[in-house]
Symmetry: C2
Subunit: 419 residues, 2 copies
Amino acid sequence: MLKKANSDLVRRQNRGLVLETLRHHGPLARISLGHQTGLSPASITSISGQLIDEGLIHTITEDEDAAAETKRGRPQTRLSLNPGATNVLAISIYVDGVEMVFADFSGTTRPPVMLRLDTYAISKDDFGPRIAHEIRYHAKKLGLPLASIKRIGVAVQGVADSIKGEISWSPAFRARDIPVVEPLQRLLDIPCSIANNANMIAEALIATDRNRYGGTTAVVFMGHGIGLGLILDGAVYSGATGRAAEFGHMNHIPDGPLCRCGRNGCLEAFSADYGIMRMANDRRGTDFDVHAPVQDSDMRELEMAAEGGDTVALNAFVRAGEVLGFGIARLIALINPQRVVLAGPGTRAYGLMKDSIGEALRRGLVHDLRKNVEFEVVPYGKDMITTGTLVETLRHLDRDVFAMGPRGVVMDFAGRKIA
Amino acid sequence: MLKKANSDLVRRQNRGLVLETLRHHGPLARISLGHQTGLSPASITSISGQLIDEGLIHTITEDEDAAAETKRGRPQTRLSLNPGATNVLAISIYVDGVEMVFADFSGTTRPPVMLRLDTYAISKDDFGPRIAHEIRYHAKKLGLPLASIKRIGVAVQGVADSIKGEISWSPAFRARDIPVVEPLQRLLDIPCSIANNANMIAEALIATDRNRYGGTTAVVFMGHGIGLGLILDGAVYSGATGRAAEFGHMNHIPDGPLCRCGRNGCLEAFSADYGIMRMANDRRGTDFDVHAPVQDSDMRELEMAAEGGDTVALNAFVRAGEVLGFGIARLIALINPQRVVLAGPGTRAYGLMKDSIGEALRRGLVHDLRKNVEFEVVPYGKDMITTGTLVETLRHLDRDVFAMGPRGVVMDFAGRKIA
DNA sequence: TTGATTTATTTCGGCGTCCAAAAAAATGTT
DNA sequence: AACATTTTTTTGGACGCCGAAATAAATCAA
């Protein structure tokens, strides 16, 4: 259903557009901003005038490199996001701890703060307050007033319910339904949102190359579990309940090996680290504790063994690839994406799985569908998750907070404050 | 990325909103239109004034029933879509023929015209012109000038490429990549679009009850194949290439029975009519022609046998349900819909499959996911496809054609033509 | 040095849209 | 007939965008 439109909507949308354009293209002169956005120079003057007065953007003065090009005519004065306008915080939760990255409005990050924390042991209700406390401490240490932080984005592997603001389930926690958004908002008075790792990687990819990833892309995250971020029509899709897709628990074979979720035969039970480890250690999978976190060092060792010619180890990876391939084939049948991206630490072993993934795709997917899909593996870095979270958080500020404009301020024709 | 907004956008959106509101709620007084849309009475007067002048809506005069309620105050004059504003045409393609339903702007349909046509035999390039010819003939017969038909919507079972405007593949045709949109537009000069049956049923459901189906719903179509219409965030999702989802060719078991698509183990190969028939006739599926269309009468006979206690027949349905259940479980794991709807002629046998579907869902899906999904079966009528196609077609007119307004017409303050 | 040229930005006036408030219209009630 | 009530229209103002003209600030050329 359509929504009512009025001049309020026009202002919001165009202010948001200007902010997003500056964020995407970096500093731009008003004239270029006009070309990029499609707005007239007059409108750009008006809008940028307001944004400058509100301190959200500013003109660049020490603009050596651009001024260096000697051209005729009045020189451009480039506009840029004002880093000091606000701060944001991206939090990534891992099995062994929590990473906090503070950034300013322009997206420039402070060095990450790594927090050791036995997430697996912490209780449902202790987690939020503990994090709130750490945020308070580190913000102070970095000289960032709490009030300057306008939004916090949290990313976690597993099922994040973005509507309830909880971690429904994550391999990093023994506890379930861990409230995150509510305690942070209550204790810090800062708006907060939570999302899933794979979705944040998808955000990072869109930000990196909108042409490449902006259409319909499936981002498969391989690690302690198998996650999925779906980009549909250029935006990350986050499901009905705000929970991300549960690709890892898509069934592969009825009555297959036991999965962490308690069912049998989930994709994860074959292709996540623990599935591979189990396959390598004990082909029948009877007395294997699926809940015990797999150490990264153990996985590396297994990869080495497989590369060195250990048939049992190699076979575990081949089988993981086969099952993953069938999973992706099913995914393609359902969503018909233009592109499938593999990401996450599990892609380290991609070389071992490549052939069996391809073979499974051939067996499990009509040629018509397969031929239209581009495949790629992106090298994994934790920073992708942080980047994605920041992108998402800052976009929310651009579109939904700062696009609104200040309230109760009288402006003149060009949008300048009169009082 | 955001788009530029200006008063043009405002007008388009609000005109569209008024048209959609009248379409959805039926005749409404200006005051009620204001309440429904959120627009002020002044704006409604202005917008409706324009729409009336353009002949898109009109005031109701013979409004006995509403005027009957004797109330104080100036009586309401209700506005309604003007049926004579334009005509549209919905075409549904079946194995045995083609159905054409003409409707006016208010959505009132003429009796369906059923066209016998051996679709399975017709060649790739004959189909479009043949249909164009029939449209010309029947429009004339019904007294509808071709120029009064502003849009044609075509629905077909199978893979419809809505961007190319072709039927990529359908069980109704032996031919592939059959152009439909291009010949109709060329020969009749009427804009045309093509979509897939299941998506049109999804459209019909949204139109019927937006609260119920408007969030995230998966519509599974069971018939000569297994199709899927996805409603994401209230709108039918039609994939990257404009092709609908290929749920029927999602692999169930590697190296399973042969499917029409040439792969092995697709969902369809178990649960579409031919899969069930094969299972009942010949459990090894060696010498069964998967391409031969299954007669509806044969399916009914098989259903009767199963209901009468024939174990082999019953088992075929049970197995079809099991596989369908696993398919739906995978679908839920990926998309996490709020609701799954089963539709299509195949649902006649739902009673035979119900238990095995449920059992497969239990085995193939985490409880957390399963518990949030509502399940339902809608009784099948061909008219759902027609309804959905009309809804989609008329919405396009509301939003993208008539919302623009006439060009080059000078209006006074209230939107009335001056010249 | 000075004026012409060029390019960027701002100002001005106009237009389209929405909206609140006042006015008008149309009917019921007393 | 006067008043009350509800719906619709008119009026006048606000906000936003835009085209055109004006202004600003530089380079180029003589």
